[in-house]
Subunit: 328 residues, 4 copies
Amino acid sequence: MATTKLKKIAVLCSGGDAPGMNAAIRSVIRTAAYYNIESYGVMRGYTGLISGDIVKMGPRSVSNIIDKGGTIIKTARCPEFLEERYQKKAVNNLKKKDIDGLVVIGGNGSFKGAHILSSKWKVRTVGGPGTIDNDLQGTDFTVGADTAVNTALGAIDKIRDTATSLERIYIVEVMGRDSDFIPLRVALSGGAEDVLVHDTEHKIDQMCEDIKKGRRKGKISWIIVVAEGIAGGHEVGRLIREGTGFDTRVVVLGHIQRGGSPTAYDRMLASRLGAAAIEALIAGETDKMAGIKGDDTVLVPFTVAVKPGRKQEKLDREIYKIIRIMAT
Amino acid sequence: MATTKLKKIAVLCSGGDAPGMNAAIRSVIRTAAYYNIESYGVMRGYTGLISGDIVKMGPRSVSNIIDKGGTIIKTARCPEFLEERYQKKAVNNLKKKDIDGLVVIGGNGSFKGAHILSSKWKVRTVGGPGTIDNDLQGTDFTVGADTAVNTALGAIDKIRDTATSLERIYIVEVMGRDSDFIPLRVALSGGAEDVLVHDTEHKIDQMCEDIKKGRRKGKISWIIVVAEGIAGGHEVGRLIREGTGFDTRVVVLGHIQRGGSPTAYDRMLASRLGAAAIEALIAGETDKMAGIKGDDTVLVPFTVAVKPGRKQEKLDREIYKIIRIMAT
Amino acid sequence: MATTKLKKIAVLCSGGDAPGMNAAIRSVIRTAAYYNIESYGVMRGYTGLISGDIVKMGPRSVSNIIDKGGTIIKTARCPEFLEERYQKKAVNNLKKKDIDGLVVIGGNGSFKGAHILSSKWKVRTVGGPGTIDNDLQGTDFTVGADTAVNTALGAIDKIRDTATSLERIYIVEVMGRDSDFIPLRVALSGGAEDVLVHDTEHKIDQMCEDIKKGRRKGKISWIIVVAEGIAGGHEVGRLIREGTGFDTRVVVLGHIQRGGSPTAYDRMLASRLGAAAIEALIAGETDKMAGIKGDDTVLVPFTVAVKPGRKQEKLDREIYKIIRIMAT
Amino acid sequence: MATTKLKKIAVLCSGGDAPGMNAAIRSVIRTAAYYNIESYGVMRGYTGLISGDIVKMGPRSVSNIIDKGGTIIKTARCPEFLEERYQKKAVNNLKKKDIDGLVVIGGNGSFKGAHILSSKWKVRTVGGPGTIDNDLQGTDFTVGADTAVNTALGAIDKIRDTATSLERIYIVEVMGRDSDFIPLRVALSGGAEDVLVHDTEHKIDQMCEDIKKGRRKGKISWIIVVAEGIAGGHEVGRLIREGTGFDTRVVVLGHIQRGGSPTAYDRMLASRLGAAAIEALIAGETDKMAGIKGDDTVLVPFTVAVKPGRKQEKLDREIYKIIRIMAT
């Protein structure tokens, strides 16, 4: 474990953006200033690390951004970073500026890069989980997930208004990658009649039967949430139309879910984890992500954080069960 | 012009739903009560008029709905109403309940039906413009248009967060039918770089040139608003990708734009026009829509209201010009 | 522990209202229906229990309420319920309708009544925590707290716009009773410069010194969150004005914080705890509140839930520390 | 009328801030750039004009601000500007930078200053109406008014949730100065039972009678909107409590109404008037405010714009009448 006193840190965002990244950047920069550590921002993730697009930042650079979506230092995906020659350029750029600590905010792919930097190139690196999909191990939540769920919920609430007035079947495709976090929570909190997630993908026939039975009993409108990657909202809409003979409308929420002002929870989480990341760097930690467990902040090795596999499986099953009970 | 004293009125919504329809219903029912006129609600538009699904309503039936999207008496499209035998059934259902005045809330198609009822069947009928497209003649605004623009704008604001962070081209398809009302106002207020509306449909080549030129000057993200019906957001996304070589993301807002709590303006407009419709019926008016001109409420013959053709052409041109100036 | 099979349940809300109460009612009623149990709603809390204002409800009674603030069965404070003769009337009213299970949604005071009903009168009673203050023991969160924090945050965000433009000191008084839950989380997520909570009440002098020092360094606007009950926003405004010589503006958010559409989190929590309450009643449980611990639902004796004392003290201290770090 | 070709313009905001000021600044700067005119921003209104705090701006300085409340160039009240020696300093500061056109965004007081600059000191000056109170003559709307009404409405909607659940009388004090624009529109769109505005100030006795009568008929909750400056919300609350014997709760919305992301309408208005102001300066106009009349932009002498007196009196009366009808 590195133990030299920390003098300068840099922060970068990588991968898809998530609401609350700005709050995390603000916390990183201001906590660094509090401990008399200089701060830099790396523009556009690993891309800027490679090209040397690294700018001086300070407490005033992050004024009035806690409530803003997106990230002021921008983010990007950077497949080149898997190549050693680019890693070397990145490490040299940090050395040139005497930066001895790095905070990486992002998800899965970002932490694979961060692991390379810390384990292979000995850059003291700590991560903060920033992804709407809540698919990182070792932390209860990732920054952006609560906002993304609430954003999708806002859309569902509007669709319900029109679904109830016009008597139709609405299919709403939400984001979520391999994790069912967003679709399950949106379906439960949105009062959707059903949800298509990974464990349930082959059940469209059953869904059509339910709808036909419900229609006979007088039920007139349905909202069905579909996780992207299961079948595609438009495809599900077609299958239900064919299977029931009823009209369907499809809404694909898409990138709306990545933006917007972060919720209180995401701003708090970002503020806590940004501070925890700097304090971990100061303590000489590296190759780890700062996360949340219950009321505590914890450190999790990057190699653990990026492991595949479902979190909250028991909770997901409970949520799914309640969605079905509520639809009765 | 009919002049018998009005004793009972009914209200119906027809066609696509629009935010503020509930505020209009509330105003119709409460204004009727104020003038000691009994009220009925017709469920599901002309469909309920034909089937006789007409329910007694009063001031308390419309409590706490002014802020709700959708319509508590539901709405529907009803092509059968063009057939005389169904019209006859509808008129008989009104007669059976001694209903001597009808308020129809809806758009183009709804007022064609309302014109048949008033001109051919002598049902005293006044309309209230309820459609998000603001495409009725003789009224500055229709109930729902201001809310729909603000809803689409909310989505654009979220997309801008992510567009600015990730540096991409976003294509956002908004509603609006043959009218360019929504796309032009969303593009201007959303700070979009460009907009594809009816007058501008063949300009994708020019757009690709602009983007390539902007990219050379360092510009990194674009938001382009597309009016549904021009080409389809996905089609435009494909053409721009092919024409520029840059990545595009497409968002189709769809039915989200029909729901949501109405804005202050739409609730006021709905409240004023609902009251104006009842006062017009009391005054013996029929075959007309209540609309707004400047600060005044006005009456416009249904036959005028449904005429095709652009409103606010001069304003639309000014808005388009400013969008282009702002993008420089 | 009671073990007769449950046939009919009633649900009531009591005390101050909280966003998500409707979602909880919906979950109670629909879960009961799922298990073939009849449902009743008691109007206006213990007041309606005493007067016998108890209405039949079913799955359709709770359609389209999951997103609505307030409570459709209304709530009230009912000091008379501490008198035995009123308790007897309440118990008789339940017996008359053969109601053998009761769900009470509310906070501290409500659960004291619920404890009397279950322990003294042997009414099988389970509670669901519904209060914006998150001041019940044995549950991580109470229904309404997340929404209240987000609502207050929305107001702070607007005030920051104007604070930054006009260069002033704003004092914002938020709710929270004896708990510091709301003020601490609002201050952190709102980026407030300082917060006055219970542990910090005698520090206005220090605050004035900080402001004067900041002003000398060029800082021009402050947002200071005050927990109601500490001193009163207007009083704090006066003290700071006198202590610094600078102009202050005071905003008292008040009852806005109790209303509004619940957040996704509060709707999920309400849905889970409503279902858990019915399942607990079915299992013969009584005299307990359903709560949340990590990912699990748990049962906590009413006598434990209502115990005074701080929850999350360690977390509160961490949040306070980060607020101070962020203000540097 | 001045006719020299315009080369450099400056823009300032003055007085209370209003949502949409940033959209107006953006439009001014970008329209200037479009016409190859250099732009400057004056910080803190006339204060910065006197002190020479004038910064170079360009199209990129105003990126991503169209959706932000407040004003990036800040605003202030500046009573010193009435003194000639300060005016002279201001004029010299403009001359030093060769600035030959000035856009002033603000309300009444701001335009008095602007009139002095243009008439006495021959600075080519055009104004854009930015005030939430919509109290300037010669323009249908001022930038910020639509947003302020919608913000206050959002608060009323939340209060209604709790008012309906808890059965109480809520008094909500809203902004609006001598104009009744905000209170009347908030009361109508918020479904308030009554409103206290300037023409109606001595009617609290009547209000108490209405409430007592309503309570006898079973009505249980009231929302009453009060215009600030009529009596003060707390005072009205006390009078109604004494006059009816019923409990009241008072909410004073205060400065929340000045902030927040501007509505689509305010962003459009700001964009149009910002462009119109620059085009007016180019055309050699001075001593005038750009305003809106129906679909057209117009120019109004500052001396006319600041005249006291009610606008939309007829509309105000209609709105008041409908509020009363809706409350029946």
